[in-house]
């Protein structure tokens, strides 16, 4: 991705003399954005880094006292925090695996000769564009044990979804799978349609079985794009807050973002929550790093 350097203007030329220099324009175009992001993203993070070493509580007037690494030490030794991470991990696995199976599966179906393919694809993409919080709320009605259409359609009687501690996390994951399988489908479709047709023709001539064709031709060629979808969804599922927060209040669905929210804005343990925020942040940055590597890899093709 080499940047194209434009022909530098002859400094004596008319237009160069009239206008600003390229260097000025470049700075004028780029610096405000960088400054904006530093002021509103990086500075706040430094601010909370400072607080993470204190016992500050935003609800009280007491000044913050420096406690060193105590917050971090306590958090990392707190079994409850680890159980929040375990819940998050379970949620990530269930929802991402579900999205990959459904999304990639539907993409395989759509990759055939389907009438009205464009319209159907757009309709299928609708869920992921909608507000998680608002649509998630409506799933409460769908999951309702006495009059929800899910139990009615599946003939489950008055099966408890959201108020059942064992089921609630899966219910949230199912809603997430509904919302985000289309994302995996969209990316998989792009990958599938990029597989050169002549490879399939060659395989057909060689009388290769469909199993062989799938694992030796389709999958390896779609893999890079599928990886992008998987990493991105993993990151988003790791950060998940809206859906789980709105759908249930079960302790078994307390993913790490919800714990963080409660610690910061309900229990007002500001210092401690800043420390937890940092632990989460470092994990997210690690995933982001992998994600960007894959993005650039696909871009170069």
């Amino acid at each position: 991705m080499a940047t194209a350097v434009m022909t530098t203007l002859d400094p004596k030329s008319r237009s160069a003399a009239r206008g600003m220099s390229d260097l000025t324009i470049r700075n004028l175009f780029i610096v405000p954005t960088i400054v904006f992001l530093i002021v509103f993203n990086i500075f706040p993070l430094l601010y909370s880094l400072g607080y993470s070493f204190t016992d500050f509580r935003a609800s009280s007037a007491a000044p913050a006292t420096f406690v060193g690494l105590q917050n971090y030490r306590e958090l990392l030794n707190d079994p409850f925090i680890w159980s929040n991470f375990a819940i998050t991990a379970k949620y990530v696995i269930v929802s991402v695996v579900g999205q990959v199976i459904v999304g990639f599966g539907v993409a395989l179906l759509l990759n055939r000769d389907i009438p009205l393919k464009g319209l159907l694809t757009t309709l299928l993409l609708l869920p992921m564009m909608l507000s998680m919080a608002v649509v998630g709320l409506f799933w409460k009605l769908l999951y309702d044990p006495s009059f929800g259409i899910i139990n009615y359609t599946l003939g489950l009687g008055s099966f408890e979804w959201l108020s059942n501690p064992d089921m609630a996390l899966y219910a949230v994951a199912i809603t997430d799978i509904w919302m985000w399988s289309p994302f995996v489908m969209l990316l998989s479709l792009a990958g599938l349609s990029a597989v050169p047709k002549h490879l399939y023709e060659a395989a057909a001539i060689d009388r290769a079985g469909s199993f062989y064709t799938f694992f030796r031709i389709t999958l390896p060629l779609v893999a890079p794009i599928l990886m992008i979808a998987i990493i991105f969804r993993t990151m988003e599922a790791f950060k998940t807050f809206d859906l789980a927060y709105i759908l249930t209040s079960q302790p078994t669905t307390e993913v790490i973002s919800i714990r963080l929210y409660k610690m910061a804005f309900q229990e007002w343990q500001t210092g401690r929550s800043c420390a937890l925020a940092y632990i989460v942040l470092i994990m997210i940055l690690a995933i982001t790093n992998i994600y960007v590597k894959y993005l650039n890899k696909v871009k170069e093709r």
């Binding site: 022909t7 954005t33 960088i34 904006f36």
Partner: protein
């Protein structure tokens, strides 16, 4: 693949069509259920078996926009006759529209929240796309030291979990009085969308041949003139697509809005769930609010359909 259209191939294709149709129906069912509940009479919203065929009503929307209270005694025939059509719909539901002492109809909280959503989403979109377009051009055309690192930095700000950013922002906003204001949310959404806008616009900018500007420079345009007169018109589609994506993101956002606003500047996403309280919630009204809220995004999705892939991959996959 003309040679391989065997009969197995054809029946597999038929199977795929059936499969796609079933999946589409399942995926659209929840959305259909929201839309249909928004037009149901209240007593049909939560029936067993679920009501699919019914006489559509507009009353959920009337209830959505007005403040109502339970009707203790039925309205007198004169009251009923004097009431406008929409007020009768509320009477029919066993409620009455709350009026001020001077007889003015009191609005519910919804229109206000809807307006807040519009103000915040539109303003932050303009700011993010505006700044993003300039920056993307800068990255696309000029040599920048550490370009990859800067672009990674820009993208990483987008990946930050909202709750992580919200903790220090809440404290800072409290100190400067930006909590529960439009500008407080606008700044957050602009920052959130800016990185996306830079990445997506850079892809669009890279596609505009730089020969266009070079020709303009030779003709005596300044670089700035060339940018505004040559590059911007070429980038119009990209700018529009980026703007729609930014709008949708800001429009849908929940966590920041929940934490940073509570009344004055509250947007629709935290407001709508707060209306589901006790077991007595009127799902038709909630559905009506949800329906109106989702409608713009549904329309935009159709307009954006050819750019969805690109937007969802931060411009990396273009097709």
């Amino acid at each position: 693949m003309a040679a391989v259209t065997t009969s197995t191939e054809r029946s597999l294709n038929k199977l795929a069509i059936v499969g796609v149709l079933i999946v589409t129906i399942i995926f659209l069912a929840p959305i259909y259920w929201i839309a249909s509940t928004a037009f149901k009479p209240r007593n049909l919203a939560t029936t067993i078996p679920p009501t699919v065929v019914f006489q559509p009503e507009i009353s959920p929307f009337v209830k959505l926009f007005t403040k109502r209270s339970q009707l203790r005694t039925a309205p007198t025939p004169e009251q009923y006759a004097a009431a406008p059509w929409w007020e009768r719909l509320v009477f029919d539901g066993g409620e009455k529209v709350v009026r001020s002492g001077r007889g003015e109809v009191q609005w519910s909280g919804y229109p206000n929240r809807f307006m807040n959503s519009l103000i915040v989403a539109i303003t932050s979109t303009i700011l993010a796309v505006g700044m993003g377009t300039f920056t993307a051009y800068g990255f696309s055309r000029f040599k920048i030291k550490g370009e990859q690192d800067l672009l990674f930095f820009i993208l990483s700000t987008r990946m930050l979990p909202p709750v992580v950013v919200a903790i220090p922002m809440f404290l800072m906003y409290r100190a400067v009085g930006l909590n529960d204001t439009h500008w407080g949310l606008i700044i957050l959404y602009t920052a959130f969308n800016l990185s996306f806008s830079v990445w997506l616009m850079k892809g669009f900018m890279d596609e505009i041949p730089k020969e266009y500007e070079e020709a303009a420079l030779v003709d005596g345009y300044t670089r700035i003139e060339a940018f505004f007169k040559i590059v911007l018109p070429e980038a119009a589609t990209g700018i529009a697509a980026t703007a729609v994506f930014c709008f949708i993101t800001a429009w849908n956002e929940y966590a920041f809005a929940l934490i940073m606003t509570n009344r004055r500047a509250q947007t629709a996403p935290p407001f709508i769930p707060s209306q589901v309280g006790s077991g007595l919630s009127d799902w038709t009204v909630i559905a009506a609010g949800t329906f109106l809220f989702l409608l713009p995004v549904a329309i935009f999705t159709f307009l954006l359909r050819n750019h969805l892939l690109r937007g969802m991959s931060f411009g990396a996959i273009r097709k």
